[in-house]
Symmetry: C2
Subunit: 230 residues, 2 copies
């Protein structure tokens, strides 16, 4: 089954990493994969554009089916391989406990989009905004917004014992959000200021699906300090 799948991905990109982790958790090793370089612009190559006209990674094919949105690919894999590998979203019908758990997973999964966006806003400011339009005040505001967001996630982790984002078991919330947390730490987030996020990061580092998909470029180069004052 996995042989029918092809993933085009880039190292260190949280959207790509989500799909890589989901494939591992669903025991779909053996899929075709092409590791491309953002720096070389390979995400804009004809090969990628033919699959994903947005020219973004991940791009993902399963037989004739194309599903490039990372959230979509993860939800699709869970739906298609429901009873294979890790159950990332429990079934709801009939059990009220599971309903509360699904709600929490969904809440964290989609809050994860806000976390990712606020992180990307800080990372991309100097890269995307032309120099003559940049303002120190705007950059400072983006960093403050990210700080508020991170404090919210510290609170989430304090309120949810068990070490995973939705409690005692690894779930879709971790598939989606862990790569963003890892990137935050990689970019210099202070472990002293965000002890719960740091603890979460360390706990999941040892998980086989995470180890097997660790960004290859991160193994070769040191972390950065962009977020050390956040």
């Amino acid at each position: 089954m996995a042989k029918d799948m092809t993933l085009w991905w880039g190292s260190g990109s949280p959207p790509c990493w989500r799909v890589l982790i989901a494939l591992e958790e669903k025991n779909l090793q053996g899929y075709n994969q092409k590791l491309l370089s953002f720096e070389k612009g390979e995400h804009k190559s004809k090969e990628v554009m033919d699959v994903n006209p947005r020219g973004q990674l991940p791009a993902f094919k399963f037989g004739d089916i194309v599903i490039n949105e990372s959230y979509g690919a993860c939800f699709f894999l869970e739906s298609k391989f429901k009873s294979q590998g890790t159950k990332l979203i429990p079934d709801c019908a009939g059990s009220d406990n599971n309903c509360a758990l699904i709600a929490l997973i969904m809440q964290r999964v989609f809050e994860g989009n806000t976390l990712h966006q606020k992180m990307a806003d800080v990372f991309m400011y100097n890269r995307r905004v032309p120099e003559n339009e940049r303002h120190e005040s705007a950059f400072k505001r983006l960093k403050e917004t990210l700080t508020t967001e991170l404090q919210m996630w510290e609170g989430h982790l304090k309120k949810t014992p068990g070490g995973f984002l939705a409690g005692e078991n690894f779930s879709m919330a971790d598939v989606i959000v862990f790569p963003s947390v890892a990137l935050l730490l990689r970019m210099g987030l202070s472990e002293d200021k965000y002890p719960k996020l740091a603890e979460y990061y360390k706990k999941l580092q040892g998980r086989p699906s995470v180890k097997a998909t660790w960004p290859p470029t991160w193994k070769e180069t040191p972390g950065q300090e962009l977020l050390k004052d956040i």
Copy 2:
């Protein structure tokens, strides 16, 4: 069952509207609802903050379960009431046709987030960016980015016959994306330049779930022209 639910919402907000439509489609009429005013800052009231610490609408409770993220609430309702009302996401296991359909629905659902973000970037520029940080060039770039995005959706609708976003049947893709399309038209999007989006908008206007949840403030005030040149 619906009596256990409470939705706090604001008129014309696509995230709120998604949940309103999902509740109708799943035959959950009769829930408690509180229509609040963004203008009066009621989304920052203690009542809302107690349910949604982000101070955003929608806020949604179902018994003791809180699920405020609009995508999350819609997915949760579909999961909990799978066989009640409209089936918004088909089951995948066993049928390859359904798998292709789920993938298409997921792809459009999550691309819908990009559409919404690019629309919001244009709407919010003058409201959110302090005057001394504004640049005509930045605003123009946001409008161009939205134009490119809209052309992509015109293409989606051309390629998917059947009149709905994922083909012949109303699905989660329509629940999520229709409110953004309606807001675009309300803000002056040209029906001549975007004929497929306009056709889609008109088709869904007559759907009972959409009619029943049409933003009350839109009935009282005329549309705007912000997007007429997009």
